[in-house]
């Protein structure tokens, strides 16, 4: 089982006293692509924030192991250093802090190595070209005045610079036009090709066609109720969440 990267057992999470995740189990091995689908309010974003260690999300029961280590009580920066990355659904705007300075600091922090200014500039430029981002974005303030699509691209840029072991993509496909989806998906695919693990959290299945996932999970009311392959996504597409909800309500 040394191939195992993430192991979540019986995870129960409260947000402001309300139980959102109600005993969730999930295992992700190295190099796998998992998709979690579910309707609004099923706990998708809660799972993403909990994995990243947001202080508002309180683990009341269960364990999260990453690379063989229990990470329940680690702060966000410690988790990032161990190789977890979250692409935010709504990235924060930080005035006065340029994309380049921020990423250089983050890279130095996660690798423990000082990043030479010129070498880092070069790395950043390469990664930005791959994402078809204009060079001037490096000197713009982090997410400030970025359009929805630019913000998402910027998340993927951060991911490709920080090279995590596990990338969690929270609704990264929402609000993107066709071209942007293609660019983002290609960025994600490059990570996949480096046999990194990916957990995609999504309402729709726009990214699916590009990613060839290994597993698809359906999240309903704080629990994973069904796991399968691509056929599951089709099922949801055809039936809609309401019918699936009804089906599982009976069970």
């Amino acid at each position: 089982m040394e191939n195992k990267l993430l192991s979540i057992k019986n995870l129960k999470v409260n947000v402001e006293e309300n139980e959102i995740l109600k005993g969730l189990n999930l295992e992700i091995s190295k190099g796998e692509v998992h998709i979690i689908m579910g309707p609004n309010g099923s706990g998708k974003s809660t799972l993403a924030y909990t994995l990243m260690g947001h202080p508002k999300y309180e683990i009341v029961d269960g364990t999260i192991e990453f690379d063989g280590e229990l990470i329940n009580d680690l702060k966000a920066d410690e988790r990032a250093k161990r190789g977890i990355f979250l692409s935010f659904q709504y990235p924060e705007e930080i005035p006065g802090v340029t994309v380049e300075d921020f990423l250089r600091t983050a890279k130095a922090s996660t690798t423990g190595k000082i990043q030479g200014i010129m070498a880092f500039k070069k790395l950043l430029k390469e990664k930005m070209e791959l994402l078809e981002m204009k060079e001037e974005y490096a000197s713009r303030y982090l997410n400030l005045g970025f359009s929805g699509g630019e913000k998402k691209k910027n998340e993927i840029l951060q991911m490709s610079i920080l090279e995590p072991k596990l990338a969690i993509l929270d609704e990264t496909d929402s609000g993107l036009d066709v071209d942007a989806i293609r660019i983002v998906a290609e960025g994600v695919k490059r990570i996949k090709d480096e046999s990194k693990s990916i957990l995609v959290i999504t309402h729709y299945n726009k990214l699916l066609d590009f990613l060839e996932p290994d597993y698809i999970h359906i999240l309903l009311n704080g629990k994973i109720v069904k796991t399968g392959g691509m056929e599951l996504a089709k099922e949801i597409d055809e039936e809609g969440y309401e019918n699936i909800k009804l089906r599982f309500a009976k069970v």
Binding site: G53, G96, T105
Partner: protein, 468 residues
């Protein structure tokens, strides 16, 4: 007065707090009398009109009340403040000749390196007198004058007499009157018509003696079509008695001229910084203020731009950082006195550890000043809930053909922003510091590199051990 003085321990400000053995040549008695004023004037060999001006100012000073609308000034005992201290050295034009002790202080503050690397001229004032002055030869050849006020009073008496304290008259307020009576040191800059001084001039003021007042006078005249960037840095070590700084800055920006005036005031936390700065701008001229207020126990500082020529412009960028035991009452005043004048104000403040940052602003549009535009933006960051932060802008509009926008915001560092940065592997402490640095970035980016570095250092010193 009888009130017990409170003395507040503050964090180590490193090099800024190094104080030297106190030696001096002449020291006026404590307190203020016409005899002391005459002594100062005699000691400086001033012309009679200046002696008279000082005595007249003293009369005005004695007749005016201490202002009560702002910070508490009741701990400031004027009889305890020594007004004139002359360091034990004559003015030098070569750095090597400056006495070792004083040189050491300025070296620690990074002055000589800065001069070598990026400045066109440097002046250094130690207590009441300027101890060092130098200016690049090519500027002298173009007619640029940069010297200490005392020398200017002798060599350019006519110009000094024409402008001196006409913009900030002794009647402006009590501390302007005090300044008029006891002013000493400071810089005089004259840029003749059509000269573009493309590298900055810099003055540095250091107040070393305990219980002393520093009353330097800065007079800058930028003639038609000329351009200048002037930088002033101020600091003082910490003593257990209150010090007073009541300087005065008068800037005359002529037609089509541009003056950028940058200051980082980093006084020790026993300093009353009651400084008056004004600029008057003629047709199509521009004044740009970059103003950083750190340190001091109490500051009252509201640089004022009077836009008196059609199409004149002013830009104010300011940052105030109030920490433990500090009440920093700062802001800016803009008077639109002519048509088609424009102004922008961008002010930021940070308060922490019980510090009190107060933004006080005035924007006034005269009845004849039609076609004016102004935008004002004030942002305050509170780092904890022991501190205070108030914003009080006053807007006075006297005609209808104007376009005015004002906005202000107050709040803390957002938890979500901290989490976002932390999720990329940055520690909580660094994330907060990064957000604070980002907050003041609009100011740091306007400063020459070595000042930007100094400002960031100051912020790091201020934040150390208090964030996280």
């Amino acid at each position: 007065m009888g009130r017990k003085k409170t003395y507040i321990e503050d964090i180590d400000r490193g090099i800024y707090d190094i104080r030297n053995e106190f030696t001096y040549k002449y020291k006026a008695d404590k307190g203020l009398t016409p005899e002391i004023i005459k002594d100062i004037s005699r000691e400086k060999n001033e012309p009679k009109w200046m002696t008279d001006f000082r005595l007249k100012s003293l009369e005005i000073y004695n007749s005016m009340p201490i202002p009560t609308w702002g910070p508490d000034l009741s701990d400031l005992n004027m009889d305890e403040i020594v007004t004139y201290i002359r360091p034990d050295t004559e003015m030098k034009h070569s750095w090597d000749d400056v006495p070792e002790e004083i040189k050491k202080t300025f070296q620690l503050l990074g002055l000589p390196q800065a001069e070598r690397e990026s400045l066109a001229g440097v002046g250094a004032q130690y207590d009441s007198e300027v101890v060092y002055h130098n200016i690049r030869k090519e500027l002298v050849d173009q007619g640029v004058v940069y010297m200490d006020m005392e020398t200017a009073l002798i060599e350019y008496e006519d110009i000094v007499r024409e402008y001196f304290m006409t913009l900030v008259p002794p009647t402006a307020h009590k501390f302007a009157a005090l300044h008029g009576a006891v002013w000493s040191g400071g810089s005089f800059v004259y840029v003749p018509e059509g000269v573009d001084v493309d590298i900055p001039l810099q003055s540095y003021f250091r107040l070393n003696a305990p219980g002393a007042g520093q009353f330097e006078h800065t007079l800058i005249i930028v003639e038609k079509g000329s351009r200048l960037h002037f930088i002033e840095g101020c600091s003082a070590p910490k003593y257990k008695v209150n010090n007073l700084h009541a300087g005065c800055v008068e800037l005359f920006v002529k037609e089509n001229a541009t003056l950028r005036y940058s200051t980082i005031e980093n006084w020790s936390k026993n300093m009353y910084n009651l400084n008056t700065k004004r600029a008057v701008v003629d047709k199509n001229g521009t004044i740009e203020w970059i103003s950083g207020s750190f340190g001091s126990k109490v500051s009252m500082l509201y640089p004022m731009s009077i836009l008196r020529g059609e199409g004149a412009r002013s830009e104010f960028t300011g940052i105030t950082f109030a920490s433990k035991g500090q009440h920093l009452d700062t802001g800016t005043k803009v008077v639109h006195a002519a048509p088609y004048t424009t102004s922008t104000v961008n002010s930021k403040s940070i308060s922490k550890d019980g510090g009190y940052a107060f933004y006080r602003g005035l924007l006034k549009v005269a009845p004849n000043a039609y076609g004016c535009k102004s935008t004002v933006s004030c942002e305050s960051l509170m780092l904890d809930n022991e501190s205070k932060s108030d914003t009080l802008p006053i807007i006075e509009l006297n005609n209808d053909d104007i376009d005015i926008g004002h906005e202000a915001k107050i709040g803390r560092i957002s938890d979500e922003a901290i989490f976002y940065l932390m999720s990329r592997g940055i520690s909580e402490e660094e994330a907060k510091a990064m957000i604070v640095r980002g907050f003041v970035e609009p100011i740091t980016k306007e400063l020459p590199l070595e000042y930007a570095v100094e400002l960031n250092n100051l912020i790091n010193i201020e934040l150390e051990g208090t964030i996280g």
